[in-house]
């Protein structure tokens, strides 16, 4: 007589894990998908999709309060490219708001800007840009050069009219941070980590569970002493491992193939990625409790995947999207994860800087996993 009274049995749990890996290995198409999707996406997204985002949040660091500097700021405000969201008082603060992603640009107006301007000395304006996504900043930058000069031209009247003849009255120095060569791959390739994880994990978990039901093997499984939690964790953990393998693959390719500078703490990325991976597995699990057939599970996964890839800021610069689309985007874990990945890998962000994007993922995880668990229990009764 076998006694199995323990609430959670490691042996049974281990049995599930071994079985899942065996099945994963047998299912050639799924296995090919797990490995093939990262490769395919890497090739496909070698190109970038450009667009023309506007209303980019901008901060002003002004050391010169004159009619000219006010005029430039006013011109920025009236252009649709820049939204002045705040002023900053120091270089350090300027660096911070760019690092944590609060603003896309900081315009620095140097001391004695107006006096140099009046003397015809072509003073410089510094526009610092968060250029992790070059597509998001390039058109705003070129527009700025044009309308800064245009705005000042209106002031060059009367005694200052001599300045009109002089050619360019000022220089605009652009300081693109994080991705100075405007290399779109730097933006796309780290983002692929999030996209690949979302795509494969949601689809594969929802399939793995639905397959048990569709083939009738769930009935057999549930007539044994195995507990729901053991079944579920036994199914999830192998895919967490797969998720990490995929991540490692993309990171290696990013580094050696695409020469993306990995300036941040990769270990931190690996740790916070666990939240994201489990959040996606929770979605897959929920889908698997809703779908009756494997086909339905795939359909639902696509339903989740499409908005994720389109509205997360992977395909199009997030700030270039209409407000309603940004709201939807804010609800998707991929949006926040992309910011974290890019933040860590390109900007060298630490835990403090990624925190604002970490808690939404944690919240999503809690919601998706508890719905999944609750529904999963129900399907068993």
């Amino acid at each position: 007589m076998v006694l199995t009274n323990a609430r959670f049995s490691l042996r049974r749990f281990w049995a599930m894990i071994c079985k899942e890996f065996l099945q994963m290995r047998r299912d050639r198409i799924t296995f090919a998908m797990l490995l093939g999707i990262p490769v395919m996406q890497m090739v496909l997204f070698g190109y970038a999709i450009n667009s023309d985002p506007r209303h980019l949040p901008t901060a002003i660091l002004s050391a010169d309060n004159s009619v000219f500097s006010r005029r430039i700021v006013a011109a920025m405000q009236s252009s649709s490219y820049f939204d002045l969201v705040r002023t900053v008082d120091s270089e350090a603060e300027a660096k911070r708001v760019i690092d944590n992603g609060e603003v896309q640009f900081v315009l620095s107006i140097p001391q004695q800007f107006s006096s140099k301007l009046v003397r015809g000395k072509q003073p410089a304006l510094l526009l610092t840009a968060d250029a992790t996504d070059p597509a998001a900043t390039s058109s705003a930058l070129s527009a700025f050069r044009y309308f800064a000069a245009e705005a000042l031209a209106g002031e060059f009247r009367g005694p200052l009219s001599y300045l009109q003849r002089q050619g360019a009255p000022l220089q605009v120095i652009v300081h693109p941070r994080f991705n100075p060569e405007a290399n779109t791959r730097y933006n796309i390739v780290p983002g692929l980590i999030g996209v690949v994880l979302t795509m494969t994990l949601v689809i594969i978990t929802s399939l793995a569970m639905t397959r048990e039901r569709e083939r009738g093997t769930m009935e057999n499984l549930l007539s044994t002493p195995v507990r729901p939690l053991e079944v579920m964790l036994g199914k999830i953990i192998p895919y967490i491992i797969v998720g990490y393998l995929q991540m490692g693959f993309v990171l290696l390719a990013a580094h050696f193939l695409f020469e993306v500078p990995l300036s941040g703490n990769v270990l931190l990325l690996l740790v916070v990625s666990l939240l994201f991976i489990v959040a996606n597995l929770g979605v897959g699990l929920t889908f698997s409790t809703l779908a009756r057939k494997q086909l339905q599970a795939v359909q639902m996964a696509i339903f989740f995947f499409l908005p994720s890839i389109l509205l997360s800021g992977f395909m199009f610069p997030f700030r270039g999207m209409p407000r309603w689309a940004q709201w939807i985007g804010e609800m998707l874990p991929l949006t926040h994860y992309l910011r974290i990945v890019r933040g860590i890998l390109l900007k060298g962000n630490g835990l403090a800087e990624i925190l604002p994007n970490l808690w939404p993922i944690a919240l999503f995880l809690l919601v998706s996993l508890s719905i999944g668990l609750k529904r999963f229990r129900k399907t068993i009764d």
Binding site: V2, A15, R26, N220, T224, P225
Partner: protein, 312 residues
């Protein structure tokens, strides 16, 4: 546990799926070491009843004990002591025979797992297929594998849901030999089936139709309780004879078996009297014979369909 106590003892057990009663206040006892046959048309609630016994479904009313454990509160204990074989093959097609058995043995935490799996493979004659994927086995071997999988943890009770459906006669005979061998070791079995010859192999049978238990007992008990007498007419034109017998008083049902027509009625005197005029027809040979389970079950079904109370 007391060895003379019944292995299954349920009282007034019911299951309702969205307003439809699938199992209706069923009460039943199965004794230790017996093979209990469960018969009834498709959709009669056999599978639902078996699922309630192994804790896959919770009864909506009633309750009982399985192997001495409460059906509602001790499901875990029941599950580790029964072997349930679902109607459809429910092991993994993409795992080999050995891997499937290995997985099930781990799930049941079988001690000396490797040894037990190897022995089971040998006992069930699965050696030639041990490394083959389960999905590629033929129907008979799949069923053998499924039976092997529910024996690994040495259950005290087997719940087999139509185990021989779609299996060839040879494999069916082998299967029954296995079941006899197991019950000889003291294991009890509850088997649902559609085959009358299998019903006759059981120690006791129950007949279930649309959720109601119509009768239960040994084959002899069931037959004698039905009160049916049976005449057989053999000849070539039995279809025509059956048509003429329709509506004749005392004749409850006629069932063709090849060139035989079985004619049954509960009042044997009335039946014989009604048949006498037909007996002069020289195309048929007439013979009184014992009533079989099939006649009883069909008559029970008819009575229930006519709105009778299906009294046992």
């Amino acid at each position: 546990m007391n060895n003379s106590a019944p292995v299954i003892e349920v009282e007034g057990i019911s299951k309702i799926f969205s307003g439809k009663t699938v199992v209706n206040r069923l009460s039943l006892q199965v004794e230790r070491g017996e093979i209990f046959g469960f018969l009834g048309p498709n959709g009669s609630g056999k599978t639902t009843f078996l699922r309630m016994l192994c804790g896959l479904l919770r009864p909506d009313a009633g309750g009982g004990r399985c192997l001495g454990y409460d059906l509602l509160s001790e499901v875990e204990k029941i599950r580790s002591r029964i072997g349930y074989m679902a109607q459809h093959f429910s092991l993994y097609d993409d795992l080999s025979v050995r891997e499937n058995l290995d997985f099930m043995a781990r799930i049941y935490a079988v001690p000396k797992r490797r040894q037990v799996v190897a022995e089971t493979i040998e006992q069930m004659g699965l050696e030639p297929f041990a490394g083959q994927l389960a999905g590629t086995l033929s129907g008979g071997w799949k069923q053998r594998l499924a039976l092997a999988a529910c024996l690994l943890h040495q259950p005290e009770l087997l719940l087999l849901d139509e185990p021989t459906a779609g299996v060839d006669p040879m494999a069916r005979r082998d299967f029954w030999e296995q079941v006899y061998a197991l019950t000889a070791q003291g294991i009890s079995a509850l088997i649902s089936t559609h085959y009358m010859d299998e019903a006759e192999r059981c120690n006791r049978v129950a007949y279930l139709a649309y959720g109601d238990l119509l009768t239960a007992g040994t084959a002899e008990e069931v037959v004698s309780r039905s009160g049916l007498s049976t005449w057989a007419a053999s000849g070539l034109d039995i279809q025509e004879l059956a048509a003429r017998l329709k509506g004749v008083p005392g004749i409850e049902l006629t069932i063709p078996f090849g060139n035989n027509l079985h004619i049954c009625g509960t009042d044997s005197g009335q039946l014989e009297q009604s048949l006498r005029p037909f007996m002069s027809d020289e195309r048929f040979r007439w013979q009184k014979q014992e009533t079989g389970l099939e006649e009883v079950f069909i008559s029970l079904m008819n009575r229930q369909a006519r709105g009778g109370d299906g009294s046992h």
